[in-house]
């Protein structure tokens, strides 16, 4: 893992929104195939970090480099091309409410005109099958539950087979069964597809699940990992900067007061 190339890098990144400083001097690195979990309270700047990674926001200071491209300084037109290689799942799904599930998932493919209609439909079916939602193709987002919307958002992000996935609180506000189901999909992406991910959450149970489980591709099922997953690391945000960055074992052993407080909540 330590030899894998770095795919997401934040170098001393600071950003202020309005008059409020949101992140100060944030540095992080995510290697190919790794899942980095950003932990912290609501308002700690986790979602802002994700938007910085995909270029929806630009830092006031510092550099963001994704897949070798300087996201923080690239023109918007170049960013549109880079974003083809990145998938993002927004906190509230952000599905296009006037489009059907099929059109939402196929959105990027339809825009590119690079595939014929049959190939696009096949890809949409495959993406929806991956999140076990093939039967809702012709429905509108408003006809789906919150959990189903979140899974459609994952399918939409997967449609272009991205090299990087960004998840913004993918289980926030969902019941435990649906949340577990979504975390299973994320673990499968990590262990089967080896997708590099940056996952934002304030739920410790999600972080624990990512660290303690692996996807058994042979039996297509979730299994306890032998020890802690080496493909998952953690970064804790507090007071606009990172107070911890390391593995699951290091997180548990951390003596940093805020980390201890956060783990005990």
């Amino acid at each position: 893992m330590a030899d894998a190339p770095i795919e997401i890098e934040f170098d001393n990144v600071s950003i202020t929104l309005g008059a409020t400083p949101v992140l100060r001097g944030l540095s992080l690195r995510v290697r190919r195939g790794e899942t980095k979990v950003l932990l912290g309270e609501s308002g700690a700047g986790k979602s802002v970090a994700l938007k910085l990674a995909i270029g929806l926001l630009r830092p006031d200071q510092g550099r963001v480099i994704v897949l070798g491209e300087p996201v923080s300084t690239m023109p918007e037109a170049a960013l549109y091309r880079l974003r083809r290689r990145i998938g993002i799942v927004f906190q509230e799904s952000a599905l296009f409410d006037s489009l059907t599930v099929r059109d939402n998932v196929a959105y990027r493919l339809d825009e590119e005109h690079a595939m014929d209609l049959e190939a696009i439909d096949a890809r949409v079916r495959a993406c929806l099958a991956a999140v076990e939602l093939e039967e809702v193709m012709d429905k509108f987002p408003a006809e789906l539950s919150g959990g189903m919307q979140r899974r459609v958002a994952i399918a939409r992000a997967l449609a272009t087979e991205p090299e990087i996935m960004l998840f913004d609180s993918p289980t926030g506000g969902l019941d435990p069964i649906t949340a577990t189901n979504i975390m299973e999909q994320i673990i499968r992406l990590r262990d089967v597809n080896h997708v590099t991910s940056l996952l934002v959450t304030h739920r410790l149970q999600d972080a624990a699940m990512l660290a303690a489980y692996r996807w058994d591709a042979e039996h297509n099922a979730l299994r306890p990992a032998d020890g802690m997953s080496a493909h998952t690391s953690f970064l804790v945000l507090h007071d606009q900067h990172a107070v911890f960055d390391g593995s699951a074992a290091e997180l548990h052993a951390s003596t940093q007061p805020y980390v201890q407080h956060f783990l005990q909540i």
Partner: protein, 280 residues
Amino acid sequence: MLDSGQEETDLATAAPPRGEEEIQWGFIGWLKGQLEGLQAYSLLTGRTFRNVLARPFYGGDTMLQMDSLGVGSLPIVLMTGFFTGAVMALQLSATLAQYGQIQRTGQLVALSIVRELGPVLTGLMVAARNAAGMASELGSMVVTEQVDAMRALGTDPIKKLATPRLLATISMTFSLTIIADLCGLIGGYLYAILALRLDGRQYWYTAMQALGATDMAQGLLKPVVFGIIIATVACYFGMSARGGTRGVGRATTQAVVSASVLIILTDFLLSRVLIGFFGA
């Protein structure tokens, strides 16, 4: 920490009275906000126009907007045009009768409808109906992160959302104005023959004789400018909506009010410039 005497000295001599300072900074902050808003509006308008000739072209989205805006606005524009023409005939004929010139009713109805009332009232109707619709639709997309999702999926939201609305609004305001003008002339004609017992052929003859190329140019240039105002103002307020559903409501109101005021203001300025250019 200051002792009470030190604090008293500072407040009395160095610092301006708190209320005055707040008013001063409040005004500067307001002015700064307005200038930033104007800058953002100008940038959005510039990018919307620049995208007209840039690939990909969203022809389907433009047609959809033209249908929603044009066909949807047709009934109110037909009614507004028709009754404006009729009421103009009613009001003007009373005045013209005092000078024994009632046969000139068609002439005055045609001039007032084609030069002023057709474009302005159509602009206001389109603004009321469609600026509100556009601002609320775009505002909802912004606050539910659909616009961010669009950017994340590699689509320029200005190209996909604003440019088709601009093209649709310009073309439909132009077309609707011609329809409103025609309805206004028909409204005036029906009032003239039914209520005033004027000769129909004379009505049309005086109306057509009165309209010159400069009147037509005024009447057809204005809806193009009004279309630009309606679309860009609605897209600007929609895309800068913040603060959930309340923010969307505020953006909608601001879009309608600003577009309406700008239409009336621009109508005056355009009329002044065009009369100066072409003559009255």
